[in-house]
Every structure is written in C-alpha cells, then in structure tokens.
C-alpha cells in the first residue's frame, strides 16, 4: 500500500524524464537531467500564481481537482504487484469518470479565463476525449468479458493462451496505447513541447495557470501518463506475482519506463497529425478494441 503510493508519486517524475531523455537521444542531444520534471515543479511551486481579473473560482479549483482525480485513478491500477489499494467490481467505470471529473474541471478552468485560445482548447479536449471513451470501455469491457473478472486489478491479469485470446490481448494493448497518447497529450495527437497556441489541445488549456497551480497540473499530467503506462505494464508483465513479488514489481516498473521509451521513440520518428485526422487515429483504438471484442466472443463460441 505504502509502496504503491510511493511509486505513484515518484514514478511520474522519472517517466517524464525517460520520455525526454529518449527524445534527446534520438535528436543527438545530451538532454536535460532525468529529474528535471521535479526541479521544474519545485521551481514553479516557489512562485506566486497570477490570476486573470475576470477569472472566478474555477481557475483556482481546477488544479487541485485534476491532481486529486489523477491520484485516485492511480489507486485503482496495479503499479507494483497484482493488488491495488482500491478495488471493487466494475471499478473501471469509476476510473473512467474520475478522469472525466478531472477533465471537466480543467475545461471549466480554461473557459473561465475568457480566452479564445483556451476556449478552443477546451472544445478540442471535449471532442477527442468523447471519442476515446468508447475505445476505453470497449477494451476494458472486452478484458472483463474475456477474463470473467470485473475489477481492474483482476481483469488486467488476462493473458493469451490461444490465437483468439492473443487477438483479444493485442487489440486491447493497441487501444490502451492510443488511450495513453490521447490522455497524456503526446504526439501524434498533441505536442507537449510546442509553443504554438493555435495547435495545442492540452497545453493551451493551462496557459493561464501559473506558479504552484501550473506545477500541480504538470504533476497531475505526469501521474496520468504513469497510470496509463501502468495499465499497459500490468497487461504485459509475464512474471508470476506470487512466485517473486520483488522481481514482479521490478519488471512492472521496467515496463512502465519501457513505455516511456516507446512514447519518446514514437515522438522522435513521426510528425504530429492534422487536428482533422485525430478522430481517424482514435478510430484505430476503437477498431482495435472492437476486433478484440469480436475475438473474445469467438473463443466462447458466440455471443450467447
């Protein structure tokens, strides 16, 4: 439990560092320190926030809600072992709407500033998150159906044992990886390092947040990325948790950081998509999850 909480709070910093270091390596640069995200958060936390004169309570409330929901969602996902601090039947629904709550506050905070940029960002965020939601539910529901379990921690133990289940497993992995890219605002969906307000999705919504508020939001984004990577790691980890818990935990952490390397590599090798084409990319996740669903019914001999 304590180990899980510690991992949930520390791994995000390192994961961001791994992604950035991977990008630096591809670009032939030395790159920033692995713990740069931590230094940035400390630097921002020391500053005094500045609020627009038209802003109301939403701008101030958004960062804490976003961080709170990110941490709560992290309690549902196994990061180190098979068990999670919080687990109950159909908790993946709770998971999805915990994120939804954080998102709605982020969007309200953005709209609250009255800036046309942030309004556009909120509109884009709403569109793409609405599209990615079916992909998440198809993937999680398929895993639940295929494994016969209904809580997150258990359904992620699903492993392929024949061609049909291999399709289920792969389809869900693809869907969850796209979910990670959308939810963590990574290339090809969003570009976290751009300075061009007109092209941003996530970053533009936090333009008016400064100082500790910005630190909180950046930390929350890193936690969300870690949670997504945790989903992938739990689904990929080939070891037996009962046989060697320490080894299992190490493998899980390795897989999470490995996901960071994959994210960084994808960002280094391809350009970002046109905004208009992002729905098509998200459709890839929906299709992958749908194929997984079909394959899972095949294994059981039809929907009946």
């Amino acid at each position: 439990m304590i180990a899980h909480a510690a991992a949930l709070l520390v791994v995000p910093i390192i994961l961001v560092g791994v992604v950035n270091r991977t990008k630096s390596c591809w670009a032939g640069r030395k790159g920033v320190p692995l713990l740069q995200a931590f230094y940035d958060i400390v630097r921002l936390a020391r500053k005094r926030p500045v609020y627009s004169s038209v802003a109301t309570v939403f701008v101030k409330a958004a960062p804490s809600v976003v961080l709170g929901t990110a941490v709560v969602s992290g309690l549902l996902v196994p990061l180190l072992g098979r068990r999670t601090p919080l687990s109950f039947p159909f908790d993946f629904v709770f998971f999805a709407y915990t994120w939804g709550l954080g998102r709605i506050f982020l969007m309200l905070g953005a709209l609250d500033t009255g800036s046309s940029f942030e309004g556009m960002g909120a509109s884009r965020e709403a569109t793409y998150s609405a599209l990615v939601e079916p992909a998440f539910f198809l993937a999680a529901g398929t895993l639940a159906a295929a494994s016969g379990k209904s809580s997150f921690a258990q359904l992620l133990r699903f492993r392929p044992d024949d061609p049909a289940t291999a399709v289920v497993w792969c389809g869900c992995l693809v869907a969850l990886f796209v979910l990670l890219q959308v939810e963590s605002a990574r290339i090809p969906v969003d570009d976290p390092s751009t300075h061009l307000e007109l092209t941003m999705i996530h970053e533009v919504m936090v333009l008016d947040h400064s100082g500790p508020d910005l630190a909180v939001i950046q930390y929350a984004s890193a936690i969300k990325m870690t949670v997504c990577a945790g989903l992938l790691a739990a689904l990929l980890n080939p070891l037996d948790a009962a046989a060697g818990p320490a080894l299992f935990a190490a493998a899980n952490l390795g897989l999470i950081l490995g996901a960071g390397i994959v994210i960084g590599t994808v960002e280094s090798l391809i350009a970002r998509l046109k905004l208009r084409s992002i729905p098509e990319y998200i459709f890839l996740a929906i299709s992958a999850a749908f194929v997984a669903l079909l394959a899972s019914t095949l294994r059981r001999g039809g929907l009946g």
Binding site: A27, T194, T199, R272, K274
Partner: protein, 489 residues
C-alpha cells in the same frame, strides 16, 4: 553587365505624364503580360506627388513610367483589375495622402505618418453570426518572433478569413536613408530585414554603383553572389527547421537547425559576421578568402550537402510529414499571378519568377537553375526550399572552383550623378528586393524607396489560410516565412 538588374536613367528622359495617361500606360503594359515590380510615389511639393511604376518584361528588362499628380486628384485604382497593385496603392495613399478612387481595400499598411498612433483602430472586418467566432493572435507572440496582429474569423475550426495587421516594427527606414552620405548607408541597409542583410545590401550597392557610374569587377560580383547564396542556404535551412518543429517532427527540427549553424559559420569565416554584415560595401566586397578559408568553406559545403541529403530523405519520406503539409495552405497559380506574389512563394505556386534566371553577371558565368513547384501548398513551399538549397550548393561549389580566393576590395566610389533615377532588383532568399533611388540636380538623394518581398507576399498568406483549419496557421505562416520589419520598414 552586373549580376543583379540595376536600371539607371536620367530623370530628364523619363517623361512626367498626366495621372490618367500614366494609369492607361501601366494598364496596357500589364495587359501585355508585363509584371508590376513596384509602384510608389514621393511628394513633389505641398500639393503634388510624383508617381513611379516599374514594370518588368518576360526577358527581364525593366522600364519605368512616371507621372505627376495632385493629392486631391490622385488616380483611379488599378487594384480592381490588377490585385497585384493593392499593397502599392495602399502604401502611396498612406504615405502621401493621395486620393485613390474606388480602391476596395484602402487599409493602412504599416501606420506611418499621420496614422502613427492609430494602431488600435485598425478597421478589421467583422464576422457576425451564432456559429462564428473571432480569434485574435498577437501582436506579441509566444517565442521570439517579431510583432504582428492576426485576426482569424472562424467557423468552428475553419478559417473563413484572416486579416493581418502590421506596422509594429516601423522604424522610419526610408527617412533615415536620406540622412548622411548616401554612399555610407550600408550598415543601415543591412538592418532593413536582419535575415536578408546581404540581399538588401546588394540591391543598395548596385544602385549606388550605377549612380556613381561604377561597374564592379567580376571578382567582387562573385564574392557577393557567394554571400547571397550562403544566406539563402542558411535561411532555407532555418525555415525547414522551423517547419519541422512546428509539426513536431523532431529529426528534421534538430538536423536542419544544426546545419544552419554550419552555413552561417561559413559566412563568419568569410566576412567576420554570421549574418553577412559588412560583406558588401558600395564599390567593394570585404570578404576575405585565402586557400585555408576556401578549404574550410568547401568542407562545410560538402558537410551540408551530405547531411542535408540524409535528412531530406527522412523528412520527405515520412508519411506523417506528407500528410501534414500536402493540401494545406494552397495558393493556386492563378491566385499567385493575380496577387503578384514574388520569390519563393510564387515559385511554389508554379510561377517561375527568379531574377537570377536572366543570367547576368555571376549568374551568367555559372547559371542558376530556377526551381519551381506546382501545387502551391505548404508541401510545395517546403520542397522548393529543399530544391533551392541543392541548387545553391551546386552553384557555390562551382563558384569556389572558379574563384579559389577573394581578397577584400574597395574601389573608390565617386560622387553620385545628378538627376538620375535608378532601380535595382536583387533575388534574395525570400524573393525580389527592390531599391529605387533618385538624385536631385546636385547629386544628393531625393528619394529612397525600399521594397522587401514580404510587402507583396503577406496577402498570399491571408489567402492561403482561407478554408483551412486555424491550427494550420503556424505551418502556413512558417512556410511563407515573411519578414515583419521588412514590411514595416
């Protein structure tokens, strides 16, 4: 013949026509397929103005049409039939207060003179309706770029119309150029647009040399052309790096950016400034290249050539890059011709205007191939820059073989001839740079008109964005890569 066109005529030989006759002459020249290079006016006295139009025929010959008019009488607009004249007529109207009848878009170009304090009152168009919204970007932008105000009128994510308001960089360059000895203006001219120091300096030097009756030696011309092509390579690499980073394509962003440093460091070796400042002076060229420096320059060029080929391959073959650029920000050939786009922007839309293609001077001894792309979108503008880097590299390699060494040369420039009008046109990396000078009866400068290609191409950007997504603005803007201060003067 000099490498860049410098057309010098005694003012006495250029008849001052009546405005109506002048407009008719300009019209008939345009109808016969000539191209409007510039059109401007200067005050003659409190009531009157002298107007000048410079046209270019297909073979590159320039000819000048002049007129005298009063501020009150003005002339009937050419813009309705020849939209290419729009920015010139607006500029004359703003600078002199000349009446221009029936101009459809008489908005300020840069808020100079009487308009200086009225920037807040720019007459933007309004778009009304439930589904539409306006987004104002600038004048202060994220990152270190120049100021300019963009107003997007959008239907959702789609841009219906973009209006561009400039003038924040107005420094009164044309007035400053009339102060002091006209032969020592080079340092000022080099700062008209900081990214085109050599282009502007060459246009200036060629004009002054023509006025002083000086014909620069082949070696001086070659050295200047080397500077111009190095500047072109450096700025094209910088633009490609910007385009790649704007779409989040990291390999392109870091590699093109790194190679640009090699290009500007080569200029540093040759003239002591990475931006080519101090390279050109009237009557001379201060670049020094001995055998050792030539060896370094050659090595740098071959390094750029080798690495650029690799990164071009990555950039052009990446499906995401193609997907991001193709069909975005299209300016058709028809539009480019009508608007009178010049330089890179015109060539990317299939309009082969290139002052170097007339094969004069250094560009005659070693011909320069004109690159043209047809599709007119961001992809075409990126591809054109890639092609032009290759052409310039080949040209430079040939030039260094022919001139293995340069020594700094400075020939004395005598007094300027009185009563002359000169126009010089230099193909800078962005497009044609036009400088027009007129001397009075004593050989003093009466008027100095500067024209950066950006003045004409900004409207092309506005047009490129119509019916595109607002999120595509940054790549459209970068693909045109226009100068704010070159426009604002």
């Amino acid at each position: 013949m000099t490498s860049i066109a410098a057309h010098c005529r005694p003012v006495a030989e250029l008849p001052l026509r009546d405005a109506r006759e002048w407009v008719a002459k300009v019209r008939s020249a345009l109808e016969q397929g000539e191209r409007l290079v510039t059109l401007f006016g200067r005050k003659a006295d409190a009531e009157g103005a002298v107007l000048t139009a410079v046209l270019q025929a297909g073979g590159g010959e320039l000819h000048v049409l002049r007129a005298a008019t009063t501020l009150e009488q003005g002339w009937h607009t050419l813009t309705r039939d020849f939209p290419a004249a729009q920015c010139f007529e607006r500029e004359v109207h703003e600078q002199l207060g000349v009446r221009i009848a029936d101009h459809p878009w008489l908005k300020p170009i840069r808020f100079e003179g009487k308009n200086l304090r009225k920037m807040k009152d720019y007459p933007f168009y309004k778009l009304a309706g439930k589904e539409v919204h306006e987004v104002a970007v600038g004048p202060i932008h994220a990152g270190i770029i120049e100021p300019g105000s963009f107003r997007f009128m959008c239907l959702g994510e789609t841009v219906h119309h973009l209006e561009i308001q400039l003038g924040y960089q107005h420094r009164g360059v044309e007035a400053l150029l009339l102060r002091g000895d006209p032969r020592s203006l080079a340092p000022l001219v080099e700062t008209i647009a900081g990214d085109t120091s050599i282009g502007h300096a060459w246009a200036y030097c060629a004009a002054i040399e023509a006025l002083a009756g000086l014909s620069p030696r082949e070696e001086i011309e070659a050295s200047r052309a080397v500077g111009l092509e190095l500047e072109r390579i450096a700025m094209h690499l910088s633009g490609l790096s910007g385009l790649a980073s704007d779409i989040g394509f990291q390999q392109g962003a870091s590699s093109y950016g790194r190679l640009r440093t090699t290009a500007i460091n080569t200029s540093m070796r040759l003239c002591g400034s990475r931006f080519g400042r101090g390279w050109l002076r009237p009557g001379g060229s201060r670049a020094a290249m001995d055998a050792g420096v030539a060896e370094i320059a050659r090595a740098n060029l071959s390094l750029i050539g080798r690495d650029v080929a690799i990164i071009n391959d990555c950039f052009l073959s990446a499906l995401t890059v193609q997907h991001r650029f193709q069909g975005v920000g299209t300016v058709t050939k028809q539009q480019a011709l009508e608007l009178g786009l010049v330089g890179m922007a015109a060539r990317a839309s299939g309009v082969p205007i290139d002052q170097r293609s007339f094969g004069a001077g250094s560009y005659g001894r070693i011909p320069m191939k004109t690159s043209v792309e047809e599709s007119g979108d961001c992809w075409a503008r990126a591809l054109l820059r890639i092609r032009e880097i290759d052409c310039s590299l080949q040209w430079l390699t040939a030039a260094l073989d022919r001139f293995p060494a340069f020594a700094p040369v400075c020939e004395a420039v005598g007094a300027l001839a009185p009563g002359q009008f000169v126009v010089s046109v230099c193909e800078g990396w962005r497009g044609e740079i036009v400088h027009c000078l007129e001397t009075d009866g004593l050989g003093k400068l009466l008027h100095y008109k500067v024209q950066d290609p950006s003045l004409r191409n900004w409207f092309g950007l506005a047009l490129a964005l119509r019916r595109n997504e607002i999120s595509d603005f940054p790549i459209c803007n970068k693909s045109f890569d226009l100068s704010y201060c070159g426009n604002d003067l």
